[in-house]
């Protein structure tokens, strides 16, 4: 196989896997060189550790395994920024930044179990909750390998207006338009979480309370709603050096009008794992209310429009059943991968022709 020799010559590890090749580049530069070779041979390409791609090489094609791109180049705790390669696991990054007094904040379990590249290129686009009931991508900017093997390096800045935001081609793109090789990641200061728990007549009422907190810009960093025989329990935690206790107390003022505190609920209630075989969704508040008759929720990235949620059924039902109920509630299932919804893309927005032209103009391989 000529491609194999050429690929080995650019410094990547090449292993035959089924009908294809698995490539493990040791650096972003090697990844870029290998992408150029793959493009020259017009081979089908998948990326492991960069979002939506399956875990195996496509027949007659190549799978890039970014597992060796796992270096954490720097952690600047004062500014709250880390430079990290895409193959680094989110858990490893969290451990490293914790040592510097920082954290990535509460994240969906599937995100935490994956790589930084998968997080950014995957269905959450690297987004997470930030104070003020907003959602924001964790990436200040990314280094992306283009289909022709060149590396586009963004500038780390809190915000920018230099034409369209090119990082958006990588975020949520599943490695299709470019491959995330590294990123500047925003960090929060690690602080003690401030917990609070409340009782409601049912799960829907608890969801309504969370929506109300978002309207007041008092969204917790993480929340859990559990149905019980006497109603529903809502547990929440706020994070932030000075802001956590302020926001928790203000949230209590808002909630006291319509529900009662539950001081007996243990502080780790919010962190307990879900029951059975849960699914993770990206959902609007209306979808979460529609789900409320079925089971429990753990919520992340709460914002004015909705939240990421881990949905679980009270008994050990199959994840497929959970996913079917979530879809019936118009939530988009994002994990586990085998159940992931494709979701509406550019075609649904009327931009299908623009997508086709973009793929062609970028020289994306088939």
């Amino acid at each position: 196989m000529i491609a194999r020799d050429d690929l080995a010559a650019v410094g990547v590890s090449v292993v035959e896997e089924g009908d294809g090749l698995r490539l493990t580049p040791p650096s972003a530069a090697a990844l870029a060189r290998a992408v150029a070779v793959v493009r020259a041979y017009r081979l089908p390409l998948h990326v492991r550790g960069s979002g939506d791609a399956p875990a195996n090489a496509p027949p007659g094609g190549v799978l890039f395994d970014l597992g060796s791109l796992d270096r954490i180049a720097s952690v600047d705790a004062a500014a709250g920024i880390a430079r990290v390669e895409a193959g680094c696991s989110v858990e490893a990054l969290e451990s490293a930044v914790r040592r510097s007094g920082c954290t990535l904040g509460p994240l969906l379990p599937s995100v935490r179990a994956g790589s930084v590249g998968a997080w950014l290129a995957g269905p959450t686009r690297g987004e997470r909750g930030v104070p003020g009931a907003r959602r924001q991508t964790a990436a200040l900017t990314v280094s992306a390998v283009l289909p022709d093997g060149r590396i586009a390096e963004g500038r780390a800045s809190p915000s920018k207006a230099v034409g369209p935001d090119l990082d958006q081609l990588a975020l949520g793109g599943g490695g299709r338009l470019c491959i995330v090789a590294a990123a500047w990641i925003r960090l929060f200061p690690a602080t003690l979480a401030m917990p609070s728990a409340w009782r409601f007549p049912d799960v829907a009422a608890a969801i309504g309370a969370l929506e109300r907190l978002c309207e007041h810009r008092l969204a917790p960093a993480r929340a859990r709603i559990r149905a019980g025989p006497d109603g529903a329990t809502l547990g929440m935690v706020w994070e932030g050096i000075l802001s956590a206790s302020i926001e928790r107390d203000r949230a209590a003022r808002v909630l006291r009008e319509s529900c009662t505190p539950a001081p007996e609920v243990p502080p780790n209630f919010v962190r307990e794992p879900p029951d059975g075989h849960p699914v993770e969704v990206d959902a609007r508040w209306s979808s979460l209310r529609a789900w409320s008759a079925h089971g429990d929720l753990i919520l992340f990235g709460l914002h004015g429009g909705g939240a990421f949620a881990v949905l679980s059924l009270p008994e050990a039902a199959a994840a497929e059943q959970c996913a079917a109920l979530a879809r019936a509630a118009s939530a988009r299932v994002i994990a586990p991968r085998r159940l992931r919804d494709a979701g509406p893309g550019w075609e649904a927005a009327g931009a299908g022709p623009a997508w086709d032209r973009l793929v062609h103009a970028l020289g994306v391989p088939p």
Partner: protein, 526 residues
Amino acid sequence: MGEHAGVTGRLPSATALGKALQREIAALEIVASCESADLWAASRDCSPSALLWTKARVVPHAPDVVAWPESAEQVAALVRLAGQRRIPLVPVGGGTGMGGGAVPVHGGIVLDTKRLVCPLRIGAARGTVDVGAGTNGKRLDELLAKERLTLGHAPPSLRTATVGGWLATRSAGLLSTRYGAVADMVLALTAVDGSGEILRTLEGPSAGPDLAKLLLGSEGTLAIFTEARLRVWRRPREWWLRAVRFGSLREALAAVREVLRSGLRPHIARLHDPLDTLFAGTDPLRVPQPLKWLAEGAQAEALRLALRAPLLLNRLVDALPASSLVVLGFEGETEDDTAEEGEAALSICRKERGEDLGAAPAEWWLASIHRAPWRQAPLFAAGAFVETLDVATTWQRAEPLYQAVRRATAGLALVRAHFAHAAPEGCAIEISLVGLAGASAAEIAGGSRDDAEADLEKALENREAAWSAALAAAADEGATISHHSGVGAARQAFLHRELGEGMRQLRALKQAFDPHGILNPGKVLP
């Protein structure tokens, strides 16, 4: 050129192409004009270059025709017409841009969006507003205020800019530390791409790259925005404001950074460099006379004399006490709420040796802030130019960036700056360069046309020298060259330094969304 008008000089006349286009556009039931006054008004924005054209009474970039579509469908029809004829189509909102982004450098059709004002639909329960791209910013703010809501977007151009202009440039306003930039407020967009397709991005979960976020900031080169759904919030009842003075810029920067890192969310966090602090009037020191001329634009002769020696002026500033003023603001439902956060922020400032000056200087500052852009007119009329950069970087690099730009431009213009749009990771630096442009407006009016054109050439040269030196220094320091003003025509020469190989992605996007190359040609991409 048409008849002479006192302020404008000779107005542009209708071209044969313009008249033909006007007929074709009218056949689409879209209002269009080739009137000289309309062509003149559509030939400029608020960039320093355009202000210098106005002073010299020249019109270097008149369009052929101006059109006012009233719906997305009419915009699509206009785009298809321009595409068939390969005519440039330049969307314009309020015309308040400062980078030449809305100047029709290749003539053609100016698409004025101000009639894209579908009735406002406020979803108070959902916290959303549907708004036409041509809606005036101040009008939107007033309508939301009636419902006790706010967008939280208050750029200096609020009174004149349109929503579409904000979207096209990824605008950021005074309250961005709490509410984010306009890109953080967008839930969904309607836009027309260069092939005439109407795009309606989805609100809520979607797959693949975020189309709305990709189109934002494209400055009319990929698509023309016609409507947006934006997130709105309860309008706070109370504000808390404080001015805090620090002995050095470094201490002030450290304090603001720590306030943001603590999780507090001020709605205002503005830090002034020593000269800006002096002009803010909170310092016991009086402003030395040469600098006062520069602040007020009075006494044109004396001002031009002072600007002949910018290095000396900057050294005079260096010799002044180096205090830095920080204005902090918090908003909330009750006085107790705002004071609680404010006092927490003050405790951080005190650790960095900040001196609480109380609320009065901050309130004076807030009352005067929106007047600042209009104070530039007397300076231009007096024979100066004022350029404003908005560069951005991380906290670690903020002070070196500021110093690098000062060093690079010290011999070309007087430099003053403030640090704004603070985020936990960094901030923007808005740097004003005041330099010598040439003769005063009165002298130009009394002189010959040749003299005016020679003066303009020299003025543009001086401006370009200071501007390029500043942007080069910012690019060398690894900063982004525009935090919220866009690229337009003014920053094009430095775009490749910012984007590197990303220029290929930019070109691909242009091919994908504007296959005929008609949308705002000559902007963003060189």
